[in-house]
């Protein structure tokens, strides 16, 4: 009775609403359907967590880049080609032994699009938004994450236009790995702080 998910008729209803609105806006000369196609293709194909993974891997391997990230994350990340909408003002959060960072937007769905792509459904939904600030450990356990005893959690609520990227700890056993191989260990969740970087071979 209290389904979390819309029912089939709600789905077809919303499909019809979207279609109607697009038809009207196109008829009025306000919207170019090809621009919508282009936006969809951008976020479906080109902009996603692989961007952020490259940033993280480089931060792990290139001390000058790491320093640049600390100095001005927006500019450093833009130098890799990741910039613009919903990444205009970037900050990076460095995990370390004893410190784990986690990002949430309790008030809406703020997320670093240009670096991580569009946010997952759970990130925009009431359970995560309500609990991340108050019970981050319980939330992490639902992601299968348990932190070492004594770790302090720092939760960052994206209440303004600053967007956050967590730099997870580099996994053991990756000495000498090149940046592109390291990037395969960096999950979206690790960069939100609801996961850790993968162990090699995991």
């Amino acid at each position: 009775m209290h389904d979390d998910h819309p029912h089939d008729n709600a789905l077809s209803d919303i499909e019809a609403r979207v279609k109607a609105l697009e038809t009207i806006l196109v008829d009025k000369g306000l919207v170019d359907p090809a621009a919508i196609d282009e936006i969809i293709e951008t976020y479906a194909e080109r902009v996603g967590p692989k961007n952020g993974a490259q940033v993280v891997a480089r931060a792990w391997t290139d001390p000058d880049f790491a320093a640049a990230l600390r100095e001005d994350a927006t500019t450093a990340i833009a130098s890799m080609g990741f910039e613009g909408r919903q990444a205009e003002h970037m900050e990076v959060l460095w995990n370390a032994p004893g410190v784990h960072n986690m990002v949430v937007c309790t008030l809406c769905s703020c997320y670093p699009w240009a670096v991580l792509g569009l946010p997952p459904v759970w990130y925009k939904s009431p359970p995560y938004r309500s609990r991340a600030v108050a019970e981050p450990r319980a939330v992490l356990s639902e992601f299968g994450v348990t932190l070492p005893e004594g770790t302090r959690i720092r939760v960052w609520d994206s209440t303004a236009e600053v967007r956050y990227l967590v730099i997870p700890e580099r996994p053991d056993g990756t000495e000498g790995w090149p940046s592109d191989r390291l990037a395969t260990l960096v999950t979206r969740d690790a960069m939100i702080g609801t996961g850790l970087a993968l162990a090699p071979g995991a």
Binding site: L21, I39, R137, A160
Partner: protein, 220 residues
Amino acid sequence: MIGPQDLGGRGGFGPVRPEDNEPVFHAPWEGRALGLTLTAGALGHWTLDESRHARECLPPAFYLDASYYDIWLTALEALLERHGEVSAEERVRGESHRPGLRPERRLKASEVAAVLRRGGPVDREPRHSPQFKVGEKVMTRRDRTPGHTRLPGYAMGKTGEIVAIRGCHVFPDAHAHGRGDEPEWLYAVAFTASELWGAGAENAQDDVMIDAFEPYLCHD
């Protein structure tokens, strides 16, 4: 307004349910809704802050039950109506009854990449120097407002510490209501879990940071 969007610390929503291998879009309409939101936004009738406020003014029971793209779509319908572009009757009939007001602002497919790459930076020239410095203790205000604000309820009337100055940014509380940029200094403010949740803190050594505009803060 402490409306349905103000979720931090509230109970009753159940577990987080991460989805394995979640697709970017769960259905084609989600992508179209995203595209409509961005292309209609490009017409310049409203600011991002006004669109956030339109979403948080949706009926709470709807807001808490709807998918996020449905929240976006429903707010977009309201914004288009408010700004005279699409009437409720046109929406219901699914047909346009008069030309658009700003066809010259139509976003072309060829401009999308550049527009997304440019984004919308909100840093502005400060009108004065920052009133608080890093390391300073501050108290957040607890002023109830019917308008848009980005100070979450759980962080109202609490004592925290400035941990960073983010710059001088457009002030959403003014910008959402068409009052211009009114730039204000923005600070990262840290609160201990104990300060926020009292004896109910999950772990006393944890903390929560918010980005708070100067008008949200006063000297402790």
